[in-house]
């Protein structure tokens, strides 16, 4: 048989490609349920890490069902809000927002041709008082996403966990692999009143003589991963800005009497940390 004529070549390659496509489609469909279950458990362990229920490695030692149980046990409230910070619906059962759901909402937040509806973004409140919100955006090679948790004052970051699809190992991948990068977020404060909610820049915040950082919403970027750092910065700004109305509106009222340092008549701005208790 002459395997070199044109018709044979075209027919042969067509058949090969169709057969391979059919095999891959079949396998992908039949394994989808299992993969989704794994992905859900992974998302839960990322949220629990961010909310401070252990390190990622510790949580990963639990099996899938144990992760789901832990989430069910520790979640206080989970609901969906719109951009005005109003509750749209409750999240029933164990419903989490993995990268695929976040991608859709990311389009909705940003608008444009891929918008499928009004943004509906999730808020997860855990029993330890932390509020976890997701972020999503573009890294250098593919999507990056993560979960940031806020303490009960709704401005101080309690923890953060980021993940990515295909950032460069050893450089951009550090947003996920380097615990010291994620630890930088802890104790920082997001500035919800400005468009520049959070900054990831070279050098981080300027520091005073004793090494205490002077600006609360600035941290050091990753060396050698400028594009990933910028992508993460943009993702955090976009998403936290979408949550701004919720966070500003939900500020807990101070239960302590305000005495605002030197100026005792300074009005209570809702930020409890700035207020010392009145001494008797």
């Amino acid at each position: 048989m002459n395997t070199n004529n044109n018709v044979y070549t075209v027919v042969y390659t067509t058949i090969i490609v169709v057969v391979v496509a059919a095999i891959l489609a079949f396998v992908s469909q039949s394994l989808k349920a299992k993969q989704d279950a794994n992905e859900k458990a992974e998302t839960i362990s990322q949220m629990l890490t961010s909310a401070g229920y252990g390190t990622k490695a510790e949580l990963d030692r639990l099996g899938n069902s144990a992760k789901l149980d832990k989430y069910a046990e520790e979640i206080e409230e989970a609901f969906v809000i719109n951009l005005n910070g109003e509750r749209v619906s409750e999240l029933e059962g164990i419903t989490v927002y993995g990268p695929k759901d976040l991608k859709r909402q990311n389009y909705n937040i940003k608008g444009g041709a891929n918008k499928t509806g009004e943004p509906e973004i999730p808020v997860f409140i855990f029993k330890n008082g932390r509020t976890v919100v997701p972020i999503y955006g573009a890294g250098l090679w593919g999507p990056i996403w993560g979960y940031i948790s806020f303490n009960s004052d709704l401005s101080t970051i309690g923890g953060a966990y980021f993940d990515h699809e295909s950032e460069t190992a050893g450089l951009g991948a550090k947003i996920k692999d380097d615990p010291s990068f994620q630890a930088e977020f802890v104790g920082e404060k997001a500035d919800f009143s400005s468009a520049n909610v959070f900054d990831i820049v070279k050098g981080g915040s300027p520091k005073d003589g004793e090494g205490v950082s002077l600006i609360d919403n600035k941290i050091d970027a990753i060396t050698g991963a400028t594009m990933t750092s910028q992508g993460l910065d943009a993702a955090i700004d976009t998403w936290l800005a979408a949550y701004a109305k919720y966070f500003l509106g939900e500020k807990p009222a101070c239960d302590k009497p305000c005495c605002g340092g030197e100026d005792k008549d300074e009005p209570c701005d809702g930020n409890c940390e700035n207020h010392k208790e009145v001494e008797d």
Binding site: M1, T3, T9, Y12, T13, I16, V20, L24, N38, G170
Partner: protein, 204 residues
């Protein structure tokens, strides 16, 4: 088993090892050898991809049009790589390791060993020897991967398969060992050892 078949199996393990002698697949051997578990999963994946791709292409070898043979090889190898990736993602036990290996499972397709063995061996030999050749080359690659990972995990994290070995004796993990350059140094040492045993590899 006849001598030729035995040679097909044994040659890639030591004398013609794809990493240390042919110097193929270096890139991934630097990237995935930080932990023994990662290296083991990677090695098994390459063995499966290499073996089955060689088998399929050897079965098809007389029908493949010469002008598009590389494309046909690519399609088959890509299919195998995606299948392995999908299967790793589906099991609870392997999901985390698949996430850790991230792009490197997908990059098996660019591993020169797979396409190299298909082009050099599977297209000119019967299915059974081709299958064994693929498996053996994958195993030769995997062997080096596991040796490198053994030292890197032991010295870099003080553990083996995640179990504490050295740390309990007050060992301080060496961060250099975790970085890719150390894998290259280790590979160099392995090549050195092999060349001092196998004199015929030494250049005059």
């Amino acid at each position: 088993m006849d001598a030729k078949l035995k040679e097909t199996i044994l040659n890639p393990i030591f004398k013609g090892n794809p990493i240390t002698v042919l110097v193929l697949g270096i890139c991934s051997s630097l990237a995935v050898t930080v932990t023994l578990k990662g290296a083991l999963v990677m090695a098994l994946s390459v063995i499966v991809v290499c073996g089955i791709s060689s088998l399929i292409l050897s079965l098809l070898r007389k029908t493949i049009p010469g002008r598009v043979r590389i494309i046909v090889q690519l399609v088959v190898v890509a299919m195998m790589v995606i299948l392995v990736d999908q299967i790793l993602k589906s099991f609870e036990a392997t999901y985390a390791i698949d996430k850790q290996l991230s792009v490197y499972i997908g990059l098996i397709i660019t591993n020169c060993i797979v396409m190299g063995r298909i082009e050099a061996f599977a297209l000119g030999n019967k299915p059974w020897p081709s299958f064994l050749d693929g498996i053996a080359n994958g195993a030769g690659y995997g062997l080096i991967l596991i040796i490198v990972a053994f030292f890197r995990e032991l010295l870099g994290s003080g553990t083996l398969f995640g179990f504490d070995i050295l740390n309990r004796f007050g060992y301080v993990p060496n961060n250099l060992v975790i970085l890719p350059p150390f894998a290259l140094i280790l590979l160099g040492c392995i090549v050195w050892v092999q060349r001092s045993i196998q004199k015929d590899l030494q250049e005059k």
